[in-house]
């Protein structure tokens, strides 16, 4: 396999470019999108690379069409992705729910910018966290990853595809305009060393008849491939194990939705990823994620030099959420600060997790600039 970019060495590229290259290395061969700042560079790269790897990159009429095309492509067996920013992400909410309900593996990248509405097109924000988790209606679960560096944007894109395939679910890569547009040195591994997970497909005709039956007890049914002999019925309506609409039977709805939720929530340990800095003996904990966490790392280092025992929990996955871990931290520290580029979103999750065992305070920042280390230090000091 030849790639249209250099592999097995480091390169100096933008976060958006890193996401596109990682997607192709993860096996993505279908991209549908609609241009929007600050995500357009992902599309530009996909338009350039896809024809060279026998893939498809298509501009749709809007973001509704983009995500719908990605869902369709996934059912033909392709690993598929779309990327957008706030306004487009809002338009995708309806079909994101369709992807959850039909258990369609796919990756949606949201390169966050200031909102609501068209907001601040060129500036970074982290205001879409709750939308990524709860933006589509109805009971559900989903996976949301939050890279802080160009290297993480690369690595987490590959992971997003693997999680999507493993759990047969849409995964949101929630990044921002700062990570999307900054250039950093990033290690692009040898393609043979990349772990790639592929979805389960039916092992028999019998299995193929039941695209929504949990055959092996892990909550993830094998997924038939359109065009390979199965007549699968796919609908957003509540459906039985064959996929046929069953919209009034409480027990069918309950078993379907509980399975869709449980396949993620019961595998939290496998999905959740975080890093800690100086947290073990800390009196004060800072929780942060994505771009804001970089300033938080610097803030912790400066606070430690001043003799303040600060530590950082950097979340790499914001959903599913480890409420129990937050409670364990809250039992050890006096206070928890949450630094995020919004007016309080993960803050509420941390507060719920802390369960009254420690004070939880928000260090918000909006307007387009990332927190400076000083913004954080002055609050903690």
């Amino acid at each position: 396999m030849r790639y249209p970019f250099s592999v097995g060495r480091s390169d100096f590229i933008q976060g958006d470019e890193a996401i596109a290259r990682a997607a192709i290395l993860a096996g993505c061969r279908f991209y549908a999108g609609y241009p929007i700042t600050p995500a357009s560079e992902i599309f530009e790269a996909m338009a350039l690379y896809m024809p060279l790897v026998d893939g498809v990159s298509i501009q749709m009429e809007d973001e509704l069409g983009s995500i719908a095309a990605v869902i369709g492509a996934s059912w033909t067996g392709a690993k598929a992705m779309t990327a957008t920013s706030g306004p487009g992400f809002s338009l995708m909410m309806e079909n994101l729910g369709y992807a959850v309900m039909t258990e369609t593996p796919m990756v949606v990248v949201d390169v966050q910018r200031g909102g609501p509405s068209t907001g601040q097109p060129t500036l970074a924000a982290q205001g879409d966290v709750m939308q990524a988790i709860w933006g589509t209606h109805g009971d559900h679960s989903i996976i949301v990853l939050t890279p802080a560096t160009v290297q993480e944007a690369f690595d987490m894109t590959i992971r997003a595809f693997n999680l999507a395939e493993k759990y047969r679910t849409p995964v949101v890569l929630l990044t921002d305009g700062e990570v999307g547009h900054m250039r950093e040195r990033v290690n692009i591994p040898d393609p043979d060393e990349i772990e790639r997970i592929y979805r389960k497909i039916p092992k028999s005709k019998e299995q193929g008849k039941y695209p929504f039956r949990d055959w092996d007890g892990d909550g993830v049914p094998p997924m038939p491939v359109f065009g390979r002999g199965y007549r699968a019925y796919i609908t957003g309506l509540t459906h039985d194990e064959r996929g046929k609409p069953k919209t009034v039977e409480a027990e069918i709805h309950e078993s379907l939705i509980r399975r869709i939720v449980d396949k993620i929530e019961k595998n939290k340990k496998d999905i959740i990823d975080y890093e800690t800095f100086d947290l073990d003996d800390a009196d004060v904990a800072i929780v942060s994620y994505g771009i804001a966490s970089r300033s938080a790392i610097r803030a912790v280092k400066i606070l430690r030099k001043e003799g303040i025992k600060a530590g950082l929990l950097k979340l790499n996955v914001v959903w599913p959420f480890d409420f129990e871990m937050i409670e364990r931290i809250a039992e050890r520290v006096n206070r928890i600060y949450v630094a995020e580029m919004n007016l309080g979103q993960v803050y509420h999750l941390v507060k719920e997790g802390a369960n009254g065992k420690a004070e939880v305070e928000l260090i918000p920042k909006i307007g387009g600039e990332v927190h400076t280390p000083k913004d954080i230090i002055e609050r903690v000091r």
């Binding site: 900054m182 250039r183 040195r185 970089r294 300033s295 990332v370």
Partner: protein, 171 residues
């Protein structure tokens, strides 16, 4: 850790200069981050490229106090001079920028016109001067970065411009 800010107006190739400096650092295996800020017009508005280079893991995402500020135009100088730390190195195009702080520099635009024969190469002339004066990356790394990053067919003239700026800097 070294923070470098290059400021000019749109059309001077400020951001490409920042990208090439960053690429050179990456070639040397240093940790490096490059960001940019520019007006929406394609020419004439402000244009700023920030480059942070570090041997340690790099967490910082913005230039807070620049160790080196290179102002290629007055509009760039006016917008960025407050970000230069005390005792930091100020480099200016001596024909285009008036400064009330201590500076070093050369008439980059004039050198590009007269010695390279193409005013468009002002960014490479200025970058050559910066690299010679600061030694932040090796000359050879920048030359490799130029070969990788400039439009095909323009490698030689850009390298020539870079070397003219570099020689001006070692004078």
């Amino acid at each position: 850790m070294t923070q470098i800010r290059i400021a000019g107006f749109g059309g001077q190739g400020v951001i490409l200069a920042g990208v090439i400096l960053g690429e050179a650092a990456a070639i040397e295996g240093l940790n490096v981050l490059q960001t940019q800020d520019y007006g929406s017009q394609s020419r004439g508005g402000h244009s700023v490229a920030d480059v942070i280079i570090s041997r340690e893991p790099l967490y910082d995402v913005m230039v807070t106090k620049a160790d080196v500020l290179m102002a290629m135009s007055q509009i760039g100088y006016n917008g960025a001079i407050d970000s230069l730390r005390e005792g930091g190195t100020l480099i200016i195009d001596t024909d285009l920028v008036k400064s009330d702080r201590e500076f070093i520099g050369a008439p980059f635009t004039r050198l590009a016109e007269e010695k390279v024969g193409l005013a468009l190469t002002v960014n490479m002339v200025a970058l050559g001067y910066l690299v010679a004066k600061t030694g932040i990356v090796k000359k050879e790394s920048v030359e490799e970065a130029i070969r990788r990053r400039v439009p095909r067919g323009t490698e030689e003239i850009n390298l020539k411009a870079f070397r003219i700026g570099y020689e001006e800097g070692v004078k």
